[in-house]
């Protein structure tokens, strides 16, 4: 437009540079132009008196009279030209002294120029072109005028009339221009909120929506492309205006559909997302930016989500709260919840990946709070979403991998509420450890004892002494830095110079000068330091230290057993009452569970095998009536077990599980049945923290639990054994424990007695048993210990979930499921293991003494039924040693795998440097990208045990490094 003005200006020989031009001259030019325009306008004005017509009509003489006929093109363009010049003059005019109107503006206001021009354009055919022309005219005026124009009603009113005539569907070009103008108006508003008053008043005659600018923008909220973006930007300007202007806030919240449109728009956009993602590789576990950028529907959804995020950030709290309520009630509950419980694994996996992406995309705490409270407190058909998600970690399919990635994101939020529900609430009562151990929780590991114990689990085939460079850069690091010696080209030089540092009294001041050190460990230490100190900083906002004293274990002994209040409380509080405008909730678009599958509910299905992870429950939950003796691949066993559990009783023949499809189908059906049966049978211990068994158990039941205890007991012997050497205190406890076990087993079948005797055996015997028991622990629960009938198992489950008191400690389904997957490390694929170890390392970096001591303190004596990370690591280690012993080529394979993994990491580091900073924000994602590096040549990725072995030994270093850094970081108040 400006360009056309310029062009016209030149054509007419008019000076473009008005600076220095006498304002009076400008005024005269303006008036002249206007006179010309008025002539044409009046000529065609149907309301004009006929006398005028006679005069002007002389030259016309067209049939029917010009007043009503179409306007000749030359006249229209003449007006157009004049108007352009006039606008140019108006724009360039400076305001008068003391902010008074300039003479041209005053004239415009007096003569009502703008309104007459608008009427003129109405008089002509009001085409899209015409609208476009008018919109551009105002856009130019608003954007470029030197003096404020919108304060004047004769300018504002026609603008409003124009805007309201533009509502409704229009050509894309008009829409784009309209949004551009609206955006400009919003910019003016943001700069000068005093105009707001006028906007409200001027548009009073526009009907109910008296904030026209805003109402016009709403239809563009979810629009894709630059128009949508600009509309959202404009709305955001109004939103930040609302934070200061109560009236705007009130108007938006009470008189507009802004919040419902925004929130339910998410639902609409969500429903157009692909229900199944095409997964590029088995390694795939989450949506990366490169991927979702290629999915327009997802980009659109994320744009809207980002907009919600921004609105929540800047808007007045009434708008924010209303929006959050609509998101909860209009999107999360009716759309996302059912989507998370769809029929097929692929769909559920896709939803999980979306959810993960959403959580990673939002930054505003209030929005995160809404999503998180949905995950943590909402029950879908009687089951907490979180419990369902946790249980899915154990699915042997890609869903399990994607679920892991979701939890990596959740843990990475450093959110107290999440950590509380996932882990901490199970640790607060300190039931998982011996009573006398509570003070150990806060103790500092002065001499890296835990690190040493963890590192001592390094399989012999991965020992740093055996791996040649460059895999392990073994170097003599001189802790006594020889930096200042000029000739420190070689280690020997340094050593020489350092040993001279003796002060003459024979004090040696060098550390480790003669020993070759694993240099890579330094990197782990460095990473551990970053990760722990970051975590400590983030957790400053938490409500309690979780150190075994605060929250006090006694006080929350019972509290932990309580379910969190039925999610209604929180959700209702958050969501009620739906605000004034009728909620535009779309009907939940998700299909209801298919009716024919309802019959599965009768089968007393048990699906969630996550409680396998806990020894007690393993004993009970493994209801495989014929534990196979032939060595099946682990993942098949896993699938089989879950499938059998799924349809136990009616579907127990293992030979029926020939292919994945069938299992797959079953698991999918399970999803339905799970929700259907939910009201009667608690989904699983995960749903309720009371995993153990009440004292009202059947004999059979108690026997099993006892065995589990015994089993755990022998496992703990390693620790206990050593402890007894110096601590009578512990010995006493130990005896007491055994007594309690015996008493609990009182009147139980003879077989149980045998077990007890074994436990109560003398120390010497146990010392001999120690190794045997330990290795046997690695194996599946012996057949004889498994319940004879699946029905019994179900009853036990029922009793377990009958909300009675917990007799046995439990560290929660999340920990259980992680440890159980870790135990199967050797059969996990590389990327699953990377995720798994990443999550555990992230958990271990949390500074809360309860969590830290549970994961890392190898000296802590746990209750026999509690499985610790260290135990599981030891199991994996012994599996590896077994494997290495019977496979001759194992060490070569290890070397190949190490080389490949190093190359893989190197390639990530280089790609990472080029990628944006935003993606590197998610550190966990760094190592796992979906573009797989070249396949290793000499080794197949299917040899998971080889890669797992390499990963295992690296994981040990990672954990040890974290433990070491904790010993110095977590005990010092951070001052700077």
């Amino acid at each position: 437009m400006m360009a056309s003005v310029v062009a016209n200006g030149n054509k007419d020989g008019q000076s473009l540079v008005l600076k220095g031009v006498d304002p009076e001259t400008c005024m005269i030019v303006f008036k002249n132009h206007w006179a010309q325009v008025v002539k044409i306008l009046e000529k065609h004005d149907p309301l004009r008196s006929s006398s005028t017509l006679g005069v002007i009509g002389l030259g016309g003489g067209a049939a029917g009279g010009p007043r009503f006929g179409p306007i000749p093109g030359d006249e229209a363009s003449a007006v157009q030209n004049y108007v352009e010049h006039m606008l140019f003059l108006l724009m360039e005019e400076e305001s008068g002294l003391g902010g008074a109107m300039g003479p041209i503006l005053e004239f415009v206001v007096m003569e009502n120029v703008m309104e007459r021009l608008f009427v003129w354009s109405l008089r002509r055919e009001f085409t899209d072109d015409m609208k476009l022309e008018q919109l551009k005219m105002y856009e130019m005026l608003v954007g470029q005028a030197h003096q404020p124009l919108l304060h004047h009603k004769p300018i504002l009113r026609p603008l409003m009339m124009l805007l309201s005539s533009c509502s409704g569907a229009a050509a894309p070009a008009v829409e784009a221009e309209l949004v551009l103008l609206l955006h400009q108006l919003c910019c003016v508003l943001a700069k000068d909120p005093s105009i707001l008053e006028l906007f409200f008043h001027t548009s009073e005659d526009q009907g109910a929506t008296n904030f026209l600018i805003f109402s016009l923008l709403i239809p563009f909220i979810h629009r894709e492309g630059p128009v949508g973006q600009q509309a959202r930007d404009a709305l955001l300007l109004i939103m930040s205006l609302s934070a200061e202007d109560e009236r705007v806030a009130k108007h938006v919240a009470q008189n507009t559909f802004f919040c419902p449109v925004l929130a339910t728009g998410l639902s609409g956009l969500y429903s157009s997302l692909p229900t199944k993602l095409e997964v590029s590789s088995e390694e795939w576990h989450c949506l990366h930016k490169e991927e979702w950028l290629r999915m327009p529907s997802l980009v659109q959804f994320l744009n809207s989500l980002e907009f919600c995020n921004a609105v929540i950030q800047v808007a007045h709290h009434t708008i924010r709260d209303q929006l959050l309520a609509y998101i909860y009630n209009g999107f999360l509950v009716p759309v996302l919840a059912p989507a998370l419980h769809k029929l097929t694994l692929e769909e559920v996996m896709t939803t999980t990946a979306y959810l993960d992406l959403f959580l990673r995309s939002m930054t505003e705490p209030a929005l995160l709070q809404t999503f998180l409270s949905f995950l943590l407190l909402h029950q879908h058909e009687g089951v907490y979403i979180l419990d369902t998600l946790v249980s899915r970690i154990n699915t042997p399919f890609q869903l399990g991998t994607v679920s892991l990635a979701l939890f990596r994101t959740l843990i990475g939020l450093y959110c107290e509420d999440v950590m509380l529900q996932l882990v901490l609430k199970y640790l607060i009562p300190c039931n998982h450890m011996m009573l006398s151990q509570r003070r150990v929780v806060r103790e500092r590991d002065f001499y890296s004892g835990s690190a040493a114990k963890i590192l001592a689990l390094t399989p012999s085939c991965c020992s740093p002494d055996r791996s040649p460079p460059p895999l392990r850069q073994l170097e003599s690091i001189l802790f006594s830095k020889g930096g200042e010696t000029p000739n420190n080209s070689s280690n020997t030089d340094q050593q020489g110079s350092c040993s001279d540092e003796d002060d003459g009294s024979g004090n040696r001041c060098t550390i480790g000068s003669e020993i070759y050190l694993d240099v890579s460990y330094l990197h782990y230490l460095y990473d551990a330091r970053l990760s722990i100190s970051g975590c400590i900083r983030a957790c400053r906002v938490w409500s309690a230290p979780y150190d075994g004293e605060n929250p006090p274990p006694e006080r929350y002994q019972a509290g932990v057993l309580e379910e969190p209040a039925p999610d209604g409380r929180q959700a209702q509080r958050r969501v009620l009452p739906p605000p004034a405008p009728p909620p535009l909730l779309p009907p939940p678009p998700r299909p209801q569970p298919m009716k024919e599958l309802a019959s599965f509910a009768q089968l007393e299905l048990e699906w969630d095998d996550s409680f396998d992870a806990c020894p007690v429950q393993e004993a009970e939950a493994s209801v495989d009536p014929k534990p196979s003796s032939e060595p099946l691949p682990k993942h098949i066993q896993e699938m089989r077990r879950s499938a059998i559990m799924l349809v136990k009783g009616s579907y127990s023949e293992e030979s029926d599980f020939q292919d994945d499809v069938m299992v797959y189908d079953l698991v999918a059906k399970k999803d339905v049945s799970e929700t259907e049966r939910a009201p009667q049978v608690d989904e699983a211990p995960p749903a309720s923290p009371k995993n153990g068994l009440s004292r009202t158990l059947t004999a059979d039941n108690a026997k099993n639990s006892l065995k589990a205890k015994v089993k755990g007991q022998t496992d703990c012997n390693g620790n206990l054994q050593k402890a007894t050497n110096t601590s009578e205190d512990l010995l006493a406890q130990y005896e007491e424990l055994i007594r309690s076990l015996v008493s609990e087993a009182g009147g139980k079948p003879a077989r149980a007695d045998g077990e007890v005797r074994k436990t109560a055996a003398t120390e010497e015997e146990e010392e001999e048993e120690e190794e045997i028991d330990f290795t046997s622990f690695a194996a599946e629960t012996p057949e004889s210990e498994k319940p004879q009938s699946p029905v019994g198992a179900i009853q036990r489950f029922r009793s377990g979930s009958s909300r009675g008191n917990y007799a046995l400690p439990f560290t929660g389904p999340f920990i259980s499921v992680l440890l159980s997957r870790l135990e199967n490390m050797l059969s996990n694929s590389l990327h699953v293991n990377l995720l798994l170890t990443g999550i555990l390392a992230q958990l271990a970096a949390y500074p809360q003494p309860l969590l830290r001591s549970f994961l890392l303190n190898t000296n802590l004596v746990f209750q026999p039924t509690v499985r610790s990370l260290y135990q599981v690591l030891a199991i994996v280690k012994s599996q590896i040693e077994e494997l290495a012993a019977c496979r001759k080529d194992f060490s070569e394979l290890i070397t190949v795998a190490q080389h490949w993994l190093l190359a893989r990491e190197a390639s990530f580091i280089t790609t990472d440097k080029t990628s944006s900073s935003r993606s590197s924000q998610y550190e966990g994602g760094k190592i796992l990208r979906n573009s797989p590096p070249p396949k290793p040549k000499a080794i197949s990725l299917d040899q998971t045990e080889v890669f797992a072995t390499v990963l295992f030994s690296e994981f040990l270093k990672e954990l040890a490094a974290i433990a070491q850094e904790h010993s110095i970081l977590s005990h010092v108040p951070i001052e700077e």
């Binding site: 509420d417 003070r439 002065f446 001499y447 002494d465 550390i511 010993s967």
Partner: protein
């Protein structure tokens, strides 16, 4: 590189010392020598060197260091043990005692002790702590004064303080280096003359307290006159004193006091990334009332 924090911590303390400690408000005399034996009954008596429960067949070949695990990591354990000790020293806030590890080795710490009252009042004694390289399983660390102070328990030739009498056996987990430092402070307030390293001082203290006092005053004067000497051991982190120089010290002093007055301001501006809606005292998620109000 992971060692950096260690050094930065010590650099911090060095700043304090250079800025002349007397102003820095050591009114806190609260830490009492009585705390030397706070030996809690510690449960985990599992020997730290314990090999894991399973004994891998090949373990035998792997070299075992004094710490009992892979030799490659032994130095890391030692380094971190010393780091932990040092953080513990910082935590104790021992009155009038400042230490920092040397640049070259974590096994050698430089220190200085200010005596504020008693016979040795106004004494400023620099010392060096030598930690055995098999720490914490070796003997107790040595503490050697730069200038042999006239004291029954200080060797008049080497300047070594008789620490061993207080720590006959160095016990891991029970004994910590801060206790040695605390002990070094105590000896100047509570004179012990049994089995002295400096018999002359012991005898004088028993027999001729006046002469003893005057010898102590001379010794204190001697030590203080050497305060601005170059450090005995050439090390970037050795403690050195210089006369008050406003251009150099004023700013550091102000920073120290600023931090003392408004510690919370030092945290402001740091990005808080964590989230919590848990009401203090509750263990229920989203129990906080001041979350985004609903509806």
């Amino acid at each position: 590189m992971n060692l950096n924090p260690f050094w930065s911590m010590s650099a911090n303390t060095s700043r304090k010392q250079r800025a002349e400690e007397e102003q820095s408000g050591h009114t806190d005399q609260r830490a009492s020598p009585a705390r030397t034996h706070f030996g809690k009954k510690v449960l985990p008596p599992i020997p730290k060197n314990a090999t894991p429960i399973t004994k891998p067949p090949s373990m035998g070949t792997a070299a075992h260091s004094a710490n009992g695990t892979h030799a490659s990591y032994g130095p890391f354990y030692l380094e971190y043990s010393l780091l932990a000790e040092f953080t513990l020293v910082i935590k104790q806030k021992l009155p009038g005692i400042y230490v920092q590890p040397s640049y070259k080795s974590a096994l050698m710490w430089f220190g200085v002790i200010f005596i504020r009252h008693g016979l040795y009042q106004d004494g400023v004694f620099k010392f060096t702590v030598y930690i055995p390289d098999n720490y914490p399983d070796g003997e107790c660390p040595k503490l050697v004064f730069d200038i042999p102070v006239f004291h029954p328990l200080v060797d008049p030739v080497s300047g070594e303080l008789d620490v061993r009498r207080a720590f006959t056996k160095w016990r891991r987990n029970h004994n910590h280096i801060w206790q040695v430092l605390m002990y070094a402070r105590t000896v100047f307030y509570k004179i012990n003359t049994t089995e002295p390293l400096n018999p002359e001082a012991a005898v004088l203290y028993e027999k001729d307290i006046q002469l003893f006092k005057s010898k102590v005053v001379d010794s204190v004067k001697l030590c203080n006159s050497h305060l601005f000497d170059q450090p005995k051991i050439d090390d970037p982190y050795a403690i050195s004193f210089s006369p008050w120089n406003p251009a150099m010290h004023e700013e550091a002093k102000e920073r120290m006091f600023a931090y003392k007055k408004r510690p919370e301001e030092y945290h402001r501006g740091t990005q808080v990334s964590g989230l919590s809606w848990v009401k203090p005292g509750s263990t229920q998620p989203f129990s906080k009332e001041d979350g985004p109000p609903q509806s």
